[in-house]
């Protein structure tokens, strides 16, 4: 069945049964099917542009992002400064391009870390079950009960900021939902014939988990990677918006929003452009992650 449901993460399991789904599909023109790839492609293009900006932004910036021109002060967009200047006369476009690097690299790092940790633990818990599973589930219950971003603000703030502590905290905060997702998919894979066959052949459990089951989790893992990226991007931008974690003056998107919100009436772009960039990047990654989940859901309906 081909269901194009955009659902909250992990909420796809309780969806409709195949029968009514296919009746609905036959009875109506499936315009969403044709529309979805266009959006997905747009999301990929946006992410691609952002990654390129992160890679080469430093070299294509028209000005030195730290170059001050206090005499000029904050100005609106002009031919010399496409997105205007900030309070200290620094070029906003250059700071955005320079900031793309810090804005994207750390979230990528966190997303990879979260996914590796979450996938490994989820796979172990789902395949082996037993005490490890019970313990991990209690732990994730505990972490779900705490407001993650508050924990982040407090831990990073009290520990006195720093890149490493933000990254580690975010990896730990992001892992529980990955563990849950991977665990539940592993548990359904575990019941399939190929796992039984591998077990009968005497293949060691670790090999079955990482060589046989893991490849079948690929869509889940990729989707988790994207959603962890979004979480980290927004969380880090939020931290620097609050003035926690980074020294003042760093060309960082979150910090730019904070520093330039006082000149909204003179050069709104100085604060709104970074806010929109964060949002657009987050949207694109969410969209892509969602479309992978959807395909996953459709595929699951088919194989069952």
């Amino acid at each position: 069945m081909a269901q194009n449901e955009l659902l909250p993460r992990g909420a796809t399991a309780d969806q409709s049964d195949a029968f009514t789904g296919s009746v609905a599909a036959a009875g109506r023109k499936r315009t969403p099917r044709a529309r979805r790839p266009a959006l997905t492609i747009a999301a990929m293009i946006v992410l691609g542009i952002m990654l390129i900006a992160a890679a080469v932004g430093h070299w294509i910036a028209p000005y030195d992002p730290a170059l001050q021109n206090v005499g000029l002060g904050p100005t609106g967009p002009s031919a010399a400064h496409w997105l205007g200047t900030d309070d200290l006369g620094r070029d906003v476009l250059s700071r955005l391009l320079e900031g793309a690097h810090t804005a994207l690299i750390a979230p990528v790092l966190i997303a990879v870390g979260t996914t590796v940790l979450g996938t490994t633990l989820g796979l172990l818990a789902g395949y082996r079950q037993g005490w490890l599973d019970t313990m991990l589930m209690r732990l994730t219950d505990l972490m779900f009960a705490l407001p993650g971003l508050l924990v982040l603000i407090v831990v990073v703030g009290v520990a006195g900021g720093g890149y490493a502590i933000s990254v580690i905290t975010l990896i730990i905060l992001g892992a529980p939902s990955d563990i849950r997702m991977v665990r539940s998919v592993t548990m359904s894979q575990r019941e399939l014939a190929y796992v039984d066959a591998a077990r009968t052949l005497g293949i060691p459990a670790r090999r079955i988990m990482f060589r046989h089951v893991l490849p079948n989790l690929a869509p889940t893992v990729v989707a988790n990677l994207l959603l962890s990226f979004v979480f980290a991007l927004v969380a880090l931008a939020g931290l620097s918006f609050l003035g926690i974690g980074l020294p003042a003056g760093t060309p960082d998107w979150g910090l730019m929003i904070q520093e330039n919100r006082g000149i909204l009436d003179i050069n709104p772009w100085a604060a709104i452009a970074p806010a929109l960039l964060i949002t657009i990047t987050a949207c694109a990654a969410t969209l892509l992650g969602d479309s992978i989940y959807e395909r996953l859901d459709a595929g699951k309906g088919f194989s069952e």
Binding site: E5, A24, L150, V154, V158, G160, A237
Partner: protein, 311 residues
């Protein structure tokens, strides 16, 4: 009987969770740079006498369980000590600011419900249609739109360009409109998606088809079947949404310069005012845990399947 058992189990879990949380909160003191004496001294001069006084006052020479119990029993009576920066009892600082945050959250809850439920139902009923696709896409955008970014766009559009609302600060209710919207849109998107999923599931039930066949009006079906049966799945995310307000309030209050608990947290975290941070962390944890407990209990009571011992 089943209900009592389930509620009791949830209650025990909530109490355990609160204990773990209070332990973590107390551990913040040890985590703070310079050690607990430094954190508790603040900017007072660190003569050996004052350090000894602090160590005695906070039982720092006692073993950890004794210290923790001392702190917890005081916290339970509402005594979180004195702020290091303002030299004011923490509890009075909280009570001065709690109104702002509660007003903000209540207004946001109204907006969330007023937007999320109708949008979700409309999308779920016209599944696959243009309206459904637009609502789904818009909700996806707001799902990834951080509250501080929304705040900024609202500030620029409605306070600076249109001048409909004041820019910063507190006062009458008009100061809360933009912050409440900024706080509400993310949770509203979550609610929309859950309501839509619930409406889809309910809409596929035989009794809806039968109600249609009987010639019940669309509105009648909505009112007596869809709304009521979609309520249960929606109830389950209430805890998530309340947690969303708590974190969102930190960013929104900061963006609009509202003197609430959220901006107090940012201020005390940056100034390393540990007693204030501890009180706020414990308070927000209590709010989330109690909210989840109430949701769980309500779910058990409302759901006839659980009530009758099935499922």
């Amino acid at each position: 009987m089943v209900v009592v058992k389930l509620v009791a189990r949830r209650l025990i879990a909530a109490v355990l969770l609160l204990l773990v949380l209070s332990l973590l909160t107390y551990a913040l003191l040890a985590l703070s740079p310079g050690g607990p004496e430094r954190a508790l001294l603040g900017d007072r001069p660190a003569t050996p006498e004052t350090i000894a006084a602090i160590r005695a006052q906070f039982l720092l020479d006692e073993p950890f369980p004794v210290r923790y119990w001392h702190w917890l029993s005081q916290a339970l009576t509402g005594d979180f000590g004195t702020s290091i920066t303002v030299r004011q009892p923490v509890i009075s600082m909280l009570s001065e600011r709690v109104n702002v945050t509660v007003t903000l959250a209540l207004l946001a809850a109204v907006v969330t419900l007023a937007v999320g439920i109708p949008a979700g139902l409309a999308a779920g009923i016209r599944r696959g249609g243009r309206l459904d696709r637009s609502i789904t896409l818009v909700s996806l955008v707001f799902l990834s739109f951080p509250p501080f970014a929304i705040a900024l766009v609202l500030l620029y559009g409605f306070a600076i360009q249109l001048r409909w609302f004041p820019v910063y600060g507190t006062g009458d209710l008009s100061h809360y409109v933009l912050p409440a919207i900024a706080l509400a849109l993310g949770p509203a998107a979550v609610l929309t998606r859950h309501t839509r999923a619930a409406a889809l599931q309910v809409g596929e039930q035989d009794y809806i088809t039968f109600a249609r066949a009987r010639g019940l009006s669309r509105f009648g079906i909505w009112e007596s079947y869809l709304l009521r049966n979609s309520a249960l799945p929606v109830l389950t995310i209430a805890g998530l949404i309340i947690a969303g307000y708590l974190t969102g309030a930190v960013f929104v209050e900061q963006a609009f310069s509202l003197p609430g608990l959220g901006s107090l947290l940012v201020q005390s975290v940056t100034q390393k005012d540990i007693p204030v941070v501890q009180a706020l962390v414990l308070l927000s944890g209590v709010v989330v845990i109690v909210a989840n407990l109430l949701v769980d209990v309500a779910y058990v009571i409302v759901n006839p399947q659980i009530r009758q011992g099935r499922a």
